[in-house]
Amino acid sequence: MTEFIYAGLILLTLGIFLCLRRMASGPTAPDRAVAIEIMGIILVGFCTLLSILTGEDFYISVAIGWALLSFIGSLALGKYLEGKDFDE
């Protein structure tokens, strides 16, 4: 069944490249913010597949950390784009 996992990893890598494309070309800053967020969440799925492939559960810890950072990053980016201070 490892072929299935490899296929999934390749497909998700493809998705990440699509996100990178949007990140490079996105005409406005919110476009890039969306692309970063989507890429973060897809990387969570990627890490999950890696942990199944290797049988090591620390990859999912990496995924949790990544999701957390991506969430906080999105909040910060949103506030920054709104042009407000962080305490509002």
């Binding site: 800053a29 919110p30 969306v34 969440i41």
Partner: protein, 278 residues
């Protein structure tokens, strides 16, 4: 058996993720990208995590996967909302109303066309009102009641109603509040029945028209009769008239004008000047 269920769930999740990325690349503006990508990716990654938990069976991996799943489900919509609000408040507009490619025009240019056409239409109509209105030149010193009898005539022919009724309404309006706003200028106006109608009669009183003791010699009267749905247009005409009569040399020219056509020409040039300044 768990293996197959797990892989099926993972497969569904991967399909959702790929579709989300395609939406991210293909959609026309930031809002549609958000709506295509964030929801699908939330579902997709949730499915992958559930699949992993089912595949691994009870153990630390499944527990971590479920924690991660709850976390993703809670945080992802929130951050999508934050980005959407940021995009909205930083002034990014929707690209187009329909994304079917047949229209092929941006909403901005569509809306601009519509508003410009409407503006042009209203401006044309404003000038046309002054071009077609009846202009009366009154030599005697009369009072407002007899002026309304004279004014009732052209309005009644234009609206298919009786002159006496029109005059009665003007008199009633005048009793409620004097319409002479300044010693030299009065704007009697009434609401008439029907819809889509607006009539104006301009009268010049060479020797003045008596409206009240405060304004016994009114020299310019702009009488308007509009149906109720023309309220907005009435206000625009009123604004233009107010600007015209406030021009410095207007009343010199007004009294100097000889024929009725001269009065009309004076009014139309002044209205055009105001239209240009806007």
């Amino acid at each position: 058996m768990n293996e197959y269920i797990g892989f099926t769930l993972i497969g569904i999740g991967i399909i959702y993720d790929i579709l989300a990325c395609l939406g991210l690349v293909r959609m026309p503006d930031v809002y549609t990208r958000l709506q295509a990508a964030t929801k699908a990716v939330t579902v997709g990654t949730t499915f992958i995590l559930i699949g992993a938990a089912v595949y691994a069976g009870p153990g630390p991996l499944a527990a971590k996967a479920l924690i991660c799943m709850i976390f993703v489900l809670l945080t992802n919509p929130a951050s999508a909302h934050v980005i959407a609000r940021a995009a909205h408040s930083s002034g990014i507009r929707v690209e187009r109303v329909t994304a079917d490619g047949l229209l092929g025009r941006e909403i901005e240019s569509e809306l601009w066309d519509v508003t410009r056409r409407k503006d042009q239409f209203e401006k044309d109509r404003l000038v046309r009102i002054f071009e077609t209105c009846t202009i009366l030149d009154i030599d005697e010193h009369i009072n407002s009641d007899s002026l309304f009898e004279i004014i009732g005539e052209p309005i009644a022919t234009a609206r298919d109603s009786s002159p006496r009724e029109i005059a009665r309404r003007f008199r009633q309006r005048e009793r409620e509040a004097v319409t002479a706003l300044k010693p030299e200028f009065a704007i009697p106006h009434i609401i008439i029945d029907g819809s889509g109608g607006f009539e104006m009669v301009v009268a010049r009183g060479k020797n003045g028209i008596w409206f009240s003791n405060e304004s016994p010699k009114v020299s310019s009267v702009f009488a308007m009769a509009g149906t109720e749905d023309q309220w907005h247009f009435y206000l625009r005409v009123l604004a233009v008239i107010a600007q015209v009569v406030r021009m410095e040399d207007f009343y010199d020219e007004w009294h100097k004008a000889g024929e009725i056509d001269d009065i009309r020409r004076l009014l139309i040039t002044r209205v055009r000047i105001i239209g240009k300044n806007r």
